[in-house]
């Protein structure tokens, strides 16, 4: 299914990646080519086939309810572009 510029813009927005207006048609074309390639999958008969969940047939690992981590706010904030008073700071969010 070919992708148009409007769909490309929608996807870019969902992915939170700014794409300049004039680049959208080219992007849509790239998407269309990739999706065209992907659509070969439609040739496969998948009737009754279970989707793969995991290649490793193991029991999910569990941990006990014990506090083993945390108490290191300075390490958590060490790489932050903007940290203030122990918090991460971001442009104002309007709810």
């Amino acid at each position: 299914m070919p992708i148009d510029a409007k769909t490309a813009a929608h996807v870019a927005r969902l992915a939170r990646i700014r794409v300049e207006e004039e680049r959208l048609p080219a992007l849509a074309e790239e998407f269309s080519a990739i999706l065209g390639f992907i659509e070969q999958l439609n040739e496969v008969d998948v009737e009754g086939v279970e989707p793969m969940v995991s290649v490793s047939p193991m029991r999910l690992k569990r941990r006990p309810d014990v506090v083993t981590d945390g108490s290191m706010p300075e390490k958590i904030l060490a790489n932050a572009p903007d940290a203030r008073e122990g918090f991460f700071a971001v442009p104002k969010v309007v709810e």
Partner: protein, 495 residues
């Protein structure tokens, strides 16, 4: 002793134990080689001080006796591994300046075994690419060149820096990661050995995720024996990774007895692709002969869904990546875009991610977003997962017939020139992974072994695919090819 950096792990291990060489000497030789190899752009963050400190500690341990195999071995570490206090950026601008406060499980294990880290190695951004050209650091360059031709070639990708560094003897070995062929393809392009272990063999904890259900770390080495030694140090159960297998790690090196008599090796007819270069075809035939000569039973097999592996991969990997890369948002680490007046949180996200991610990463994140979006989930993602089941079943069927390993070419061509694919449509670049990607979808171990040179003097690799958890048997078969091929060529030094 000259050229210490040219040693294999096995040679260095033995020399270190005999006291013929020190870890510091080995490390200094590698650091000097790195110093002189700027043109390869393989090492992107050198850590010479850390390396020498680790080397001195290794020497003390060696003197005390009983040191593990990897003690004192200088390694390069792919930039995808988080290494404490050392830049770890996945070759992306979005992680510019990121220095983790933690150490990945695989590097922790290597360091606990006494290994020395020389620095971080170049790669494709977030391991997305087959040529190292998507790196924020600029491409690594293959130490190999075509005969009488100075065209810079790709070392392959995504572990291109690792392949280049090992091939150019900047380190004794390197870590790589493989999501669709990212260890094996660059290993083949650079004339070295690259092993992708069974999914779950090495912990993913602390390795920057690309596609969680496919990613697996592995060794990139100068010999099959080295791969066996290094894998043993990297592997093992990790309670911090829910997908890491609680299975004992055997002595892989001990499996290398060269005896494959009576072993059944499968040759999948679907890998005989149209338009495959004659040289690849004949290399493959040569591989079959080598195995047969060693007493293996070479049989034709069918893996009927092979053709659909690449399209399934290009649904699953981008879908997982689109979610895995959502955390790069400019809030807690890495790059944050400069904002204009009136810009809010959405603008911060959109500008940060547009500036921080390169074109290929953006493309894959958006494709992944699209295939997961409302109304398309079943048509794309779920269908791809079903095809994945069929691909895994193809292998199970072959193994059920007694096949112990499967022989294929690693890549459809030798290394190509940097920039050569710049104008090609993205799908053409994706075709590089056509022989390697099935293995990731099925979670199997596979190794690429250098087996010959093409007419232009470039290395070519053969791939062996093994049964789950049987890396030892797989490496033993690879060892047979390695010995029979007697691949001893090295790139002549131009850098």
């Amino acid at each position: 002793m000259g050229d210490l950096n040219r040693m294999t792990i096995a040679e260095a291990r033995d020399a270190l134990r005999r006291g013929e060489v020190s870890a510091v000497e080995l490390t200094e030789a590698c650091l000097a080689a790195i110093e002189a190899a700027g043109a390869l752009n393989a090492v992107v963050h050198g850590t010479p001080e850390l390396a020498l400190e680790q080397a001195r500690a290794a020497d003390a341990r060696l003197r005390a006796g009983g040191a593990p195999d990897m003690c004192g071995i200088p390694l390069g570490i792919k930039d995808l591994f988080c290494t404490r206090g050392v830049p770890s950026q996945a070759a992306s601008f979005i992680l510019n300046g990121f220095r983790p406060e933690y150490e990945s499980t695989v590097t922790s294990r290597l360091f606990e075994a006494g290994a020395v880290m020389l620095g971080k190695l170049n790669m494709d951004e977030f391991a997305m690419g087959s040529s190292n050209e998507t790196s924020t650091y600029g491409s690594a360059v293959n130490p190999w060149r075509r005969v009488d031709d100075e065209t810079p070639l790709t070392p392959g990708g995504s572990s291109g820096g690792s392949a280049a560094a090992v091939a150019a003897d900047l380190c004794l070995a390197a870590t790589g990661t493989d999501t669709g062929g990212s260890i094996r393809q660059p290993a083949a392009f650079s004339g070295i050995v690259g092993l992708k272990p069974t999914y779950g063999r090495c912990s993913r904890w602390g390795i920057i995720a690309f596609a969680s259900s496919l990613d697996q770390a592995g060794p990139m080495t100068k010999s099959v024996r080295d791969a066996a030694i290094m894998l043993a140090a990297m592997a093992g159960h990790d309670p911090k990774d829910s997908t890491s297998a609680d299975i004992p790690v055997p002595d892989f090196e001990a499996a290398l007895n060269g005896d494959i008599r009576g072993r059944k090796i499968g040759i999948p007819r679907e890998y005989r692709m149209e338009g495959m270069p004659a040289e690849i075809e004949s290399l493959w035939a040569e591989g079959r002969r080598m195995l047969r000569d060693a007493g293996a039973e070479v049989v034709d097999i069918s893996l009927p869904h092979t053709k659909y592996a690449l399209p399934a991969y290009y649904v699953i990997a981008p879908a997982e990546a689109s979610s895995n890369l959502a955390r790069y948002d400019g809030v807690r680490y890495g790059h944050r875009a400069k904002l204009g007046a009136g810009d809010g949180i959405t603008e911060m996200y959109e500008k940060t991610r547009a500036e921080g991610f390169g074109d290929e990463v953006q493309r894959r994140v958006m494709i992944g977003t699209y295939v997961l979006s409302a109304g398309f989930y079943d048509a794309y993602y779920n269908r791809a997962r079903k095809v994945r089941t069929l691909i895994a079943k193809d292998f199970e069927d072959a193994f059920a017939q007694g096949v112990e390993a499967i022989l294929t070419p690693t890549t459809p061509s030798a290394a190509f020139g940097l920039g050569e694919m710049a104008d090609a449509d993205p799908v053409r670049m994706y075709l590089n992974d056509v022989f390697t990607v099935t293995v990731n979808l099925a979670g199997l171990p596979a190794v690429s072994v250098p087996a010959g040179l093409d007419s232009q003097g470039l290395p070519l690799g053969l791939q062996l695919i093994g049964r789950p958890w049987e890396e030892g048997a797989l490496l033993n078969a690879a060892h047979v090819i390695e010995t029979a091929a007697g691949f001893a060529s090295r790139p002549s030094r131009w850098w």
